[in-house]
Structures are given as structure tokens and as C-alpha cells.
């Protein structure tokens, strides 16, 4: 009651409106509606490792569509070295090839596409894929295996890029011949932003940050 004896009226619609404004703060519409992988021919991104001792730059560019083992894919060059990504409704698949060198010749032990990222990105989703094959080279069986695991960690609200997702990858490549077994393990993280794509990643060379980009 106010001093006149009249009941003070609070606009009833303010209560749900305030709840809604507070609840919308986690930007679920942005994460649901946005494209985190804007792959199109001509798009490019440049990354720096921000190191004053060993400065490095990686230039990533999407080339026009190509076809590998009858699958359409985008060649994506990382400072000139190409990876091949096939985009589909279930995510992005990467072309993998393992070769074995013998007597000056290279033999393809394993070749195919594996899941690289399952889309859309949702906190807590995980995926795994593998390829395995073998080849007889000069009477000796060579076995190759490629395994990849990914986990989408919780999104974070980045000041520059909005709601970004980090994906943690574990990759193991194994080549077995009669005398030796070679195992190559890699762990790396990638951070994707809505409408931009990859904005941060780390690998054996350190951590790289997006410095400039151009999307067609």
C-alpha cells in the first residue's frame, strides 16, 4: 500500500519478462542456429602463436571442391599442406592415408574417410572412429590403423567471438610390420566460434590464435 491507501500495482508481465531476459543469457539460440564450420572455397584464416622467441604463422585456406575416392571434399591447406574434409549432415569427415615405404617405393596401406567432428556441437557430446587395413608388401603383411576420439567440452562465452566450443582430440596412428610397431599419438584441442570457424588450436608447435580471416 502506498501513502494514499491505494495498492501499488506491479505490471504482472514484468516477472516473466525479467526471468526470460535472465535465462536468455546463455545464448542457446546462437549456438543452435549458428554455423561453426563455414567451409567454402576461398575462405581463409591466419593464425599466430604469439611467441616472441619463435614466432610462427599458419595460413589456412579452403580450396575449391575436389573428389577423393568418389567422395566430394574440400581441400584445406595448412601453410600449403592439404587436408581433405567432406561435409555432411552428420558432421565433417577427414581423408586419411597411411603409406609404407619399401625399396624406394611408397605403398598405400590404409586409405579412407574418418569422422573428424560430429555436428552440431553440443556440450558433452563425444565421438570416435577408426580405420584399419593391411597390405602385403614383398611377402610381408603391413598393418595400419588410425583411431580418433573427440570430446566437445563446455561452451564458453568468449569476449571476441561469442559462444565458443572447445573440442579435445586424441589421435593414434599405428603401423605394424613383421619387425617393428610404430605408434604415433597426438593430443590437441581446437576452439570453434559461431560464423567464423576455428579460432584457436594447439599442437606440437604450441598454441595458435586467429589473427585475421576472410569469409566469402
Amino acid at each position: 500500500m502506498n501513502y494514499n491507501g491505494h495498492r501499488t500495482k506491479i505490471p504482472w508481465f514484468l516477472i516473466p519478462a525479467l526471468l526470460l531476459i535472465t535465462g536468455c543469457g546463455n545464448n542457446i539460440v546462437e549456438r543452435s542456429a549458428a554455423d561453426y564450420f563455414p567451409y567454402a572455397a576461398g575462405n581463409w584464416w591466419r593464425y599466430n602463436n604469439n611467441s616472441s622467441y619463435d614466432p610462427q604463422t599458419i595460413f589456412v585456406e579452403v580450396e575449391p571442391l575436389d573428389t577423393l575416392i568418389q567422395i566430394e571434399c574440400y581441400p584445406v591447406t595448412y601453410s600449403g599442406v592439404a587436408s581433405y574434409y567432406a561435409l555432411g549432415a552428420t558432421g565433417i569427415r577427414e581423408y586419411i592415408k597411411i603409406v609404407h615405404a619399401f625399396a624406394g617405393e611408397e605403398y598405400t596401406v590404409l586409405e579412407g574417410f574418418v569422422k573428424r567432428i560430429v555436428t552440431p556441437l553440443v556440450t558433452g557430446s563425444c565421438f570416435a572412429d577408426s580405420l584399419a587395413d593391411s597390405l602385403n608388401v614383398a611377402g610381408a603383411w603391413i598393418k595400419g590403423k588410425y583411431e580418433i576420439r573427440g570430446l566437445v567440452s563446455e561452451f564458453t562465452d568468449d569476449e571476441l567471438y561469442g559462444n565458443v566450443y572447445q573440442i579435445a582430440f586424441t589421435v593414434r596412428e599405428t603401423v605394424v610390420d613383421p619387425d617393428t610397431t610404430i605408434i604415433w599419438d597426438r593430443n590437441f584441442n581446437e576452439v570453434y566460434a559461431p560464423g567464423i570457424g576455428l579460432v584457436r588450436f594447439n599442437n606440437e608447435q604450441g598454441e595458435f590464435h586467429l589473427s585475421e580471416y576472410d569469409l566469402k
Partner: protein, 146 residues
């Protein structure tokens, strides 16, 4: 008797701006309307289910709507606003959140005594005060005066 109408609507939403990972969704709602001077005001509850292009992905939205509609015209312009609780999931991953939703559309009314049947064509926007995307949709509604 109460100068109110109660109705249900069902239809489909198709992503128009954004939401490229979703296919068409199914939408249901229940609502009550009451004439308030020149227009009719109402309140409703709504549920929507969207299947992802990736079959493992799905998105649910449940919400409340306040609506204003000009019922006594053959073509009724309608305006709705409200909020949705959204749940999106793929495999073991899941996220929840809230969105502000608004709808602009037009109904075509076919009346038979106390019953009205109408197709309803509309645009439904979903915003989180950061981005604003939406769906185009069509529903069939049926309502009865109480």
C-alpha cells in the same frame, strides 16, 4: 458463457533464418482467448520438436505465449510473444536454455456456429538477445467458444 474461446493448433515449422542443422519441426499448442475491446487477447502453451539433419540430434522447445489477434475478421492478423525452454541433445551431449519468441502471422477463419477452424501462416522468431533467427510455419487451428 464465459465469453472465451479455447483452441488447439498443430502444424510444422521450417527453419528460415539460421538453424541449418534442423529439419522441419512439429508444433502443438493450446490456447485461451478472450475479447478485449477491439481485439482478442489470449494465453497459450506450446511445444515443438525438431529433428536434426544428423539423425542423432534433436531439439525440443516448450513455452508460454501471450497473443493478440483480430478474431472477427475473415483474415485475422495475429501477434504472439513469449518464452521457450529449449533442450538440444546429441548422443551423450545435452544443453538447455531459454529463448524469447515472437510470432507474426495471419489466420483465415472458417466459422460454423461456435466453432472456428483456421489455417495459420506465420513467421516465428527466436532470439536470445544476442542473435535473432527464426522459422516459417503453418498450423491448422480449431477453437470453440465457451
Amino acid at each position: 458463457m464465459f465469453a472465451m474461446t479455447a483452441g488447439i493448433e498443430a502444424g510444422v515449422n521450417q527453419p528460415l533464418i539460421g538453424f541449418d542443422d534442423l529439419t522441419a519441426g512439429t508444433v502443438f499448442n493450446f490456447q485461451l482467448e478472450r475479447t478485449a475491446g477491439f481485439i482478442d487477447l489470449g494465453f497459450g502453451v506450446q511445444g515443438a520438436f525438431y529433428q536434426g539433419k544428423n539423425q542423432a540430434y534433436s531439439q525440443y522447445a516448450y513455452g508460454l505465449r501471450f497473443l493478440a489477434v483480430k478474431n472477427n475478421w475473415l483474415f485475422s492478423p495475429a501477434l504472439e510473444a513469449g518464452g521457450d525452454y529449449i533442450r538440444r541433445q546429441i548422443g551423450s551431449g545435452q544443453e538447455i536454455g531459454f529463448s524469447f519468441n515472437y510470432l507474426l502471422g495471419i489466420r483465415m477463419n472458417f466459422r460454423y456456429e461456435l466453432l472456428t477452424v483456421y489455417p495459420f501462416l506465420y513467421y516465428e522468431g527466436a532470439a536470445d538477445f544476442h542473435v535473432n533467427d527464426g522459422f516459417i510455419g503453418i498450423k491448422i487451428g480449431i477453437k470453440h467458444e465457451l
